[in-house]
Amino acid sequence: MAVENVRGFSLRTDLAYDCVHHMWVEVLSSGRVRIGMDPLGLETSGTLAQLDLLAVGVSFARGEHFGSLEAEKFVGPLVAPVSGRITAVNDEAIVNPGFIENDPFGAGWMIEVEPAALDDEIPLLTSGADEVVSTFEVKIDEYRRDGVLAE
């Protein structure tokens, strides 16, 4: 596992990211993918209070919602970074969303998916250590400049 500190955020550089919706994608050795939320998305969400995830067996396309998250009484959708069918859901994170805040790349994963079009969709994500780092640097700088994040 490759982890790098990018402007104060610990990021895995061996994953692919949807930097617009703040989701990460890990391709597992089984060919399935695991999906979770990145630390920048968590930072801008506030304290997570509630999480809903679609059930095992449900399919969705990239860009569709696979669940919802509530923080600060604000309900927002979780947007799928890739298309596929859900094969596993992290029930522990539903019971205690604190897992997502405390360990977003580990115990805080959200769903596993049998991908439907991974070869076409992975290139649409940010991947590769250098690209991940540079993309997050730009995004974090932009968020700080715009007051989205504290200086």
Binding site: E70, F74, P97, G147, V148
Partner: protein
């Protein structure tokens, strides 16, 4: 369609409890479809209970609601179960997602500050505290919820002209008479009505939101598409399956929030029970029970009041084995995650 620099203002007037929810959901869907940013107002013409999108219906005392013919509706925005009635004047602001800061706390501050300005214009010394609660002193005066509906963001809140504290507490299911009594006390202590002229509040809100958003207010109504959304939403919100919500595992222990930072916790196991009222990091009230406390329960509980929550376990440990049993119950609490 209105020009891009317009804030559409809709006064829905006095409407049924169902419509006091579905009208603004329809407006938000309209904003998502391309209608201009919309500030709307309405007042329910009867009492009901509203429950946040993610919350378990089991949190509500449905028997109490049923006995009083108080309907329950699930909204698409966040927050907990709340008692609503005609003494509350609702406002809703809905904007395209792209118009609000990507940080949720900042988006809420951005969309609540004009409401606070409207309160102050009515002579109410309101402020938005660090926990994003609209307060006068240390009392909450405005309930709100927020969410993304399609590509629109909406924040809904209320001017509480009169507040039925007893009903507001009674709608919540509690695990014990101890928890019930403390819930009643904290609701009375921390939630306040701020009687004000609703027309004046509405005018002030229109001005404050227009100024903050740099938009020109123009009174309007739902369009044809939004009326179609409204019909769908009326049906959806009356559907028992929607009301039930997504099945979710229950969390151990019982928690209820009174206002941001102030909450109640109770857990019990095999005759050992711990009930706490908490404000931020301080214990406001405590009750303990354990078969081996041998008459020391009241003394132990009293020693906890006023202490920082961090000191809870060490204080309990002074009571030996029963204290440690009580301490283990505290592990079930999830501070900060009471919506």
């Amino acid at each position: 369609m209105e020009p891009a620099d317009t804030l559409r203002v809709i006064d829905f007037g006095s409407v049924s409890p169902l419509r006091s929810q579905t009208l603004w959901h329809a407006a938000a869907r309209g904003v998502s479809d391309g209608s201009p940013p919309t500030l709307s107002f309405c007042r329910p013409n009867g009492p009901y209970v509203g429950i946040g999108y993610h919350r378990r219906l089991a949190e509500i005392d449905l028997d109490w609601c049923s006995r009083r013919n108080v309907p329950v509706y699930r909204r698409m925005v966040g927050g907990g179960p709340v008692y609503l009635d005609s003494g509350q004047f609702f406002f809703q602001i809905s904007l395209p997602l792209s118009s609000v800061p990507p940080s949720r706390p900042k988006a809420l501050r951005f969309l609540l500050e004009p409401a606070v300005e409207a309160f102050t214009s009515c002579g109410i010394e309101a402020h938005l505290d660090e926990r994003l609660e609209v307060t006068v002193g240390d009392r909450k005066i405005c309930g709100y919820g927020a969410g993304q509906i399609g590509d629109a963001v909406i924040v809904v809140g209320n001017l509480i002209e009169t507040f039925d504290h007893a009903s507001a507490a009674a709608i919540l299911r509690t695990p014990s008479p101890t928890a019930r009594a403390e819930l009643d006390r904290l609701v009375n202590r921390y939630i306040a009505a701020t009687p004000a002229d609703p027309d004046r509040f509405q005018r002030a809100a229109v001005e404050a939101y227009s100024d903050a958003l740099g938009l020109r207010p123009e009174y309007g109504a739902l369009n044809e598409t939004e009326h179609s959304h409204l019909a769908e939403l009326d049906e959806l919100f009356a559907d028992p399956v929607w009301l039930q919500g997504q099945e979710r595992p229950s969390r151990p222990g019982w928690q209820a929030k009174v206002k941001a930072g102030v909450w109640l916790f109770e857990a019990s196991r095999d005759g050992t029970a711990l009930t706490l009222g908490i404000d931020g990091d301080q214990i406001l009230s405590a009750a303990v029970a354990d078969p081996d406390l041998n008459g020391q329960a009241d003394e132990l509980a009293a020693s906890l009041v006023g202490q920082p929550i961090e000191a809870l376990r060490s204080r309990l440990a002074t009571a030996g084995r029963p204290g440690r049993r009580l301490g283990r119950l505290w592990e079930l609490a999830e501070p900060g995650r009471v919506g």
